[in-house]
Symmetry: C4
């Protein structure tokens, strides 16, 4: 199977998953409406749901960055085999699940009973899902690096070690965040947000000197994907 | 990364976000069903939910126009870099959130207690989200105008000032609408709807004399995107 | 703007809208679970929700056929202008709304109080949405027929009258169904389903002798869309 | 109609349907929040919902594999006619419905009253939907095999019998699983998961020696879909 269709399907899944995040905000409109019809919506009332907004922003940036990295990964190859497709499915299974820990964090970050026990559970589950996804990415990178010829790699994938290291670093970050959740769930969520920003900044030089750089060398750079 | 994939992913997000708007209508079927099983659905009963229908139409047209403008913006370039991708993510984060203020307006435009306080809060939040999105668009336009060569602009982006002005005008419109919400939330929502229509009409001449005009000049206009 | 991107966005909207229909089935799993935890799920219990299944099938086939016709319509042209895009948005606004009347019918086709009053209201709303969409299609067909050159029509659109007639026939069918709803809401829903089947069968000969026929005439028929 | 657009629309439907599965997990965040605000989220509390996680994994893998097989099927042809489109719609109607039996299983696998009656009903419905989808696939394969020339088959579809056999085997598996549901609903669900893995492994050699093998024979394998 050519990699373009896999990317296209994956892009669709990412696009839906990232949009599903808004479903954690929609119930706020209902909750503030109340059941007795006597609740009045105020700015302070809306502010009460700050964990939902924070979780929305962190998860949105996280899925967005994951989409970028997913594209970078599949852009390495021109074909995908069944094994890579199955690894990809496992990865997507984690990405699609993200709105669930996001909902847990949104609903439980401020414990109704004043204890931080349930906030910790929510943030830990969030971290575990992130770690699972990181493992998924690392598996795909390692597989691609090990089967470059069979997958028709566009150019030598010359940095498997570095990539692995980076993803390990990401794993380390998520593991650290998960541990922090036992002390401060809010701090853990902020760490997860910072990791998304880290992945954004960290990879900034990549596209220009490797991915797009290759294409810029050929005439009519735009057609890279079609006729490369 | 070539701009086509970014457009494709963004298109997916727009398509899902615009469809999510119907989830503000679905609960009506449940609410009119009642819990005691004794409520009978009548035309008047359905009419009671007019704020939901109005909010649906206004938000649908708004997201639709935003999709058009997003396409016009990305059609200027052939490549995107990481910075533009990040700006794009922030923009999409605002677009995906639109169903939330839409739900607030749908549920609170007719205050259960007769006061217009909560309707004002709902309409103001709606306006603030629109302003945030307008700022996102202006940022992307300014970035594209400032990095034309690096992004492989299809032609000289010769109207950054005018474009900026237009988006400022849009910002001004949303700011005015947000202020009006303090006096009349319904009027504010109608202003937001009028702004969508304004963006439709205002840009009507554009595609023919700049975007498509360029392509019409080449043979086999359809292939513009593939072989331009 | 080239018509391919518009099709792509519209396809996304159709794909999401058709999938949203399952959200009218999901609550059944909750309703049969009960709140007291004592309700046991039985086959008869599931059968109780037959209006939901019927509405799902009818709306699914309807949106599916609408997607086919939408593709046939846009396949006529190679470019779209702003006016056509706006007409398209209005059409999609109707298509995306379909899950709403579907939910009304699913919840109200079997009146809890034994009267058929609310079932009539639900079926009438369903019919009105269908009529609005039919009008949207007719508008787009008429616009395309009137602006063939500006839109870069692939071949002479030689059957505007016939097309209009067909859509009028469709309108007539939906209008008749809506009227029948006052007598028998169930019969109305079945008529709407039959109309979907009618559109399927009726257009069966078309693709082979006009649309694909043209392409079959050229070498390498597959490439039609890319290099036509 | 060229097969690429049908694939693209179908891909969109698959992508949304697979993502909708997360909506069976989202309510867990609400249920663990409780209504009285006194419920504390604990790891054990989350573990209580294991049928939801199991159903999510099984259905995700199932839809994922179905997407793969759907692609393999449509990759055989370069054109689709109305009949194939209608068969495809029926198939998608089954795929989109999958989140519904998934929700039934998630909610009813552990009977609140200790009996396994409702779990059996849920698992049986799950199996019946799978059987219906398998029949849909078999119909499409048989149709494609019988109309190879009209559909512009890429190469001789030389294994209709074998394919039919495989799908029959799949049907047999789902039928067996459905029967097992009367004894042990959990075992049935596990069988459905094993079937997904079976379809993964079983088809592993296919892409390399038939589908991609053909393309590998041509120069510039990537372009297969565009210029094949």
């Amino acid at each position: 199977m050519d990699s373009q269709r896999t990317e296209s399907f994956s892009d669709g899944v990412f696009a839906v998953a990232i949009t599903v995040l808004v479903f954690n905000l929609l119930p706020i409109a209902d909750k503030t409406a109340g059941t007795a019809g006597t609740v009045t919506l105020t700015a302070r009332h809306l502010g009460h749901f700050w964990p939902s907004y924070l979780a929305y922003v962190v998860s949105f940036m996280t899925i967005g960055i994951m989409w970028l990295n997913h594209h970078t990964l599949l852009a390495q190859v021109t074909r995908v085999d069944r094994s890579l497709l199955v690894l990809n499915l496992f990865l997507l299974m984690g990405v699609v699940a993200i709105p669930f820990p996001t909902a847990l964090v949104a609903n439980h970050l401020t414990g109704a009973d004043g204890s931080k026990g349930q906030a910790t559970v929510a943030a830990v589950v969030y971290g575990l899902v992130m770690i699972a996804i990181s493992v998924g990415y690392a598996s795909m990178w390692l597989y691609v690096a090990a089967h470059q010829d069979a997958l028709g790699a566009r150019r030598r994938v010359h940095t498997p070690t570095l990539s692995t290291f980076r993803f390990t670093a990401g794993n380390g970050g998520y593991a650290a965040g998960t541990l922090v959740a036992f002390v401060s769930p809010v701090a853990a969520l902020i760490i997860f947000g910072v990791l998304a920003v880290y992945y954004m900044v960290e990879h900034l030089p990549d596209p220009s000197n490797s991915d797009d750089g290759t294409r810029a060398g050929s005439a009519g750079g735009t057609d890279g994907d079609q006729h490369g």
